[in-house]
Amino acid sequence: MKSSNDTIKRLFEEAEELGVKIHMIESYDQIKYEIINLFLDHPNLDKSICVVDSENYDTQSLSNYLYEKGFDLLLPNEQVDYGEFIENLKNVQVGITSVDACVGETCTLIIRNRRPFFREVSLLPPVYIAVVRQDQIVISLDDPSIFKELKGESQITIKRA
């Protein structure tokens, strides 16, 4: 599925109204440069980041790169003690996760909690980066693809950017 130009346009309009920054990138590899630019634009942010494992980017390569650039990294996995994870997350400046869908007409992110930590990482750090593929952008909540997997098996999180 490829999102139409109208959908993308609508997303940009809504994002502008809400003061959300959207960066279009050509490949997943560019995510790391976007992160570096973010910290350059906001020099008051400590160089700490929580990266949640995702199919939308190569977590290993991204975290290696950020580590080399002097970032403090928080990389949660399912074995981590939850309380300890939250303690650490409190002090992190930026959280990054992928999302499952993005709704153009409302600039809304949809996260299915197939894995833990997505919701926490989108809530606690002051800056949140969501990585969404272009084909995951739909025009409205009416799109049936958004909720097809939900029926108690996964929780769903909708966050208007």
Binding site: N113, F147, K151, I156, I158, K159
Partner: protein
Amino acid sequence: MAEDKWPYRKKARQALSNPIFQRGLENIQLRIGKATLERYRELPNIEELRDKGREIRLKAVDNLGIYLQRFAQNVERLGGMVFFAKDGDEAKDFALKVCHAHKVKRVVKGKSMVGEEIGINKALEQKGIVATETDLGEYIIQLAGEGPSHIIGPAIHKSKEEIGRLFSERLKAPYSTVPEELTSIARNSLRPKFLEADMGITGANLAIAEAGQVMLVSNEGNIRLSVTLPKIHLVIMGAERIVESVDEAMLILRLLSRAAAAQRLATYVSIVGPKEKLSRDGAFYVIVVDNGRSKIGADPRFKEVLACVRCGACLNVCPVYGKIGGYAYGDVYSGPVGAVINPLLFGIERYSDLFFGETLCGMCRERCPLKIDIPRMLLELRRIYKEGDTSFNILPKKDIGYLALKTFELYNRNRKLTAIVKNISKALKK
């Protein structure tokens, strides 16, 4: 023994003589009341959506027993627990048992109307459990020791100066009247409470029968934090807040966001169930509170009011609410919908001024996303109050007003009868 009358007139006078409250009411009606209409108009198929939403909710009201049972089965299948409470006392008892079982000492709460209705905070406090409201408006009124004055904006009666003083006194924060600074003070005070809490208590905007999950909607992220960080999640919901499917919940959500806060979509929407809590050795409980709802649902004259999703849209256009504010309606539910719900839940005699106080202008029905016919139910309550009704233990009031009304009705009926006879005679003559 006759119930004490709710002091509607006294509370209304107090609101009318409070310029800060008047400004808050005017502001919310001008800002959100008008903007809601614009948000409705953005959707080309809005009337179709509203009709569909109405159909969904009325279907749910007609099938409450079936949907609630399916919901409970699915919650339990996923590892959670559902408790059906016939009244507030049973609900509070169960909540306290949950607290006891999990050694809960600190609770964070998302805004919950039914929680207010049953007085859950007081019950927790009496057992030494600290319950902190986390919705900004609710937090303000909790610190002030007051109740909500609007379904969506519980602290609209407070000026920023009053909030600044309140925060300064209660939170020992530097005095400020800058909204961003006040929000920041509240956030800094609340953040550690989320992190320390043993349990999160929320309401439910809707429970979804087929999924065994609840949908929670907020704009501040507080409900999501209350649900996410503590190990235990306790949902306290009214028995009527259910739909059959996720698709139905999504349709209602679109209407709810536009009607409640003139938004295309609320900022945070979470659909949650037991699964996540169990994966962290936590627990998920739902208390379904009846407290008179099944009686309303069984009454064809009033069951429509159970379709309400508490968006507050009727408050934002009501000329009466716009002047007298929420406190005149009672402790919890206010505005036109409160003028129907409060008498039905807490006593028709006690709250009779509420349904006589409304103007029947019909704006509430116009703006309700589900087109709930509040004016019809207000009239029905007036009729019951005057003529009596055994199902509500109301005796007829044969005072001068009642006799005048009856005479007028008889006259009207006779006029119609005379006209019908005249028409028939004319037709026969032809």
